[in-house]
Symmetry: none
Subunit: 200 residues, 4 copies
Amino acid sequence: MPKVSNEHQEARRAQIIEAAIQCFSKKGFHQTSMQDIVLESGLSPGAIYLYFKGKEDIIRAIADKQHSKERDLIAKACSSSDVKIALGQLVKSFFEPLSDSEVFESRRIGVQLWTEALSNPIVYEVVRSGIDEPLRELTKLISEFQEQGSIQAGLAPDAIARVMVALYQGFILQLVWDEQVNVGEYVTAAEAIISTFFQA
Amino acid sequence: MPKVSNEHQEARRAQIIEAAIQCFSKKGFHQTSMQDIVLESGLSPGAIYLYFKGKEDIIRAIADKQHSKERDLIAKACSSSDVKIALGQLVKSFFEPLSDSEVFESRRIGVQLWTEALSNPIVYEVVRSGIDEPLRELTKLISEFQEQGSIQAGLAPDAIARVMVALYQGFILQLVWDEQVNVGEYVTAAEAIISTFFQA
Amino acid sequence: MPKVSNEHQEARRAQIIEAAIQCFSKKGFHQTSMQDIVLESGLSPGAIYLYFKGKEDIIRAIADKQHSKERDLIAKACSSSDVKIALGQLVKSFFEPLSDSEVFESRRIGVQLWTEALSNPIVYEVVRSGIDEPLRELTKLISEFQEQGSIQAGLAPDAIARVMVALYQGFILQLVWDEQVNVGEYVTAAEAIISTFFQA
Amino acid sequence: MPKVSNEHQEARRAQIIEAAIQCFSKKGFHQTSMQDIVLESGLSPGAIYLYFKGKEDIIRAIADKQHSKERDLIAKACSSSDVKIALGQLVKSFFEPLSDSEVFESRRIGVQLWTEALSNPIVYEVVRSGIDEPLRELTKLISEFQEQGSIQAGLAPDAIARVMVALYQGFILQLVWDEQVNVGEYVTAAEAIISTFFQA
DNA sequence: TATGAATGAGGGTTCATTCAT
DNA sequence: AATGAATGAACCCTCATTCAT
């Protein structure tokens, strides 16, 4: 029996989430008070509780948002039936945005979610599925490569997938600590290392 | 004039830090209250403040502790004058302890410090120097490799160093989220990829 | 956009200040806990902090309140252009309220502020200007008297002003220690002494 | 069964009181921690509690000390049988030390005790008797004057005594707020006013 | 739907005092 | 007699959340 349209509902939620992202990105989840989000969003405390159950619910919504973005990246990348192309696409879709300073906040939030997952079961679930899905996809692709003989046998495909994820997440850490890091050089090096391996 | 020995002083500090590590590891820095540390340590609130200026001081002390452990690893690894051996040692000293479930808490704390660094300048300094030092050492070693022609020219040595650090830190993330991950397989895969590249 | 009126805001501040005055009057600033003020005011701790930055801010507000009351007394008294009348008015406006047991708390608070000024710079400023203004006014009036020859030459007008202030503040001390003291007799004696001197 | 001499006991007490006076003078009773006194005295916390029951006991001892100093002044002043001389002595013994910057701390402590008396029964008793005795003596002297006709009849001798005490205590307030105040001019003015009155 | 004043549990920290040594 | 590490109640204050309007 909502009086206002769903669009309005979603717009308000987006407004709150955007404000929360700004705050969380700067100060972290636990140093950010609801009052901070209230000020940043321009809404009232009461209004926020109309759209979210509480602070934790906002964090979860943000985690979901990040997660769904990654889902989309994976889905799009894996649409190709050619294994080589799919893998290249996957790497590209994850690494390309790293050069985009627009998603500065998104990366910082992402890192904070990784840690939050350690003590927050709800966030844990989101973060876990956000990593398990890419791992699954990568493992599948790598298995196929291996069957083609493009990769040494004897190495666990799942371990190789983890290596690739580590190359991604490990670099994000370095990036959030120092936005000056040369992304292009890193990506070039990482791709060189991977492709050398895949052609060995 | 102290009634108790310096060893006792250090023992108390260690006792508090140990209790704090247990708490922080489980609940995170900000969800852990001083009361939690009080209970875990078996001391009184006042006693804690005899040895630390406050909660933040405990976090800093823990960060320092982790940092100095890593310093030692690097120093020991780099004692060899042979570049190849030094690099091998470095990789080994960082990857080997990953199999050790003893340092379970240490890893979880480490990840939390990575995030804490984003909003806490004191922790930031410690984390930064904890990553900059290995990067510097690695870059130096990789440059020498490159001069020997063991690595493709044209790739930034510093970027390659970052790749190696990412392989380490990125995997730690995966490990803290799921202690069941097969460390041996990962290390084997990572070493295979690195050594393939170095011999390309 | 405020939900409640400015009058309401001021009423709440007054409510808190009134409660604080009751507490401070009985127990002193430092023996009064915020909890005491909370109980006396009937509000919650959080509510107090909506209107005041902290305990010190309440003390400062009370000091300001006392100060502005005295300012008004002086301003009103000095409105007359006749020196004799102005001085008489000034004496009257300060001494008359001493008989009023309504301002019982106000006097006790005043004395506490005098002492608080010794270690609290904010209160010091308020107390200083609360004494310097009357001194300045009195000195001006006394100088004029002296020029008319109504007072012995050779005495510093400013010293005489201090004598008059001492007669006021010194008596307040006696009054807060023992509310039974006969105010009328004191005022009569003080005025006799002053007027004898001014006519000598 | 004290092992050490009474002199030693008294020396220790004096040492603690001296340290406490320094601290209280600067920061006030309630802003001074026992730790402050410990540091200033060079003793240990435990040692202080061997000689005083607690913080309040130190304050009481200091109040007693001040009180007994004033008792001595009064006793000495009133030793003369000549009323005029006795009164002159009394005024002199109280006003003369005001020029002495040595007793800087003593005055600041005195003022703090006046306020402390409002909420501390033990201090109240000391302060009360410290003011009642001079008042009694003065009243007695003034009564005799009045009987001799040197003072207007109709004025309460006790009120006149209070005037004189106010001239003393009221000026001390002004002095502790601003040590630059010209003591000589004040005393000259105060004495002129009193003697004018007594000879009227 | 929207407000924002109000709540109150719980946060980090201090400090007068004690007691084993 | 003297120490000083230890205690723990109490301090001031914050902040996620609620609810009367």
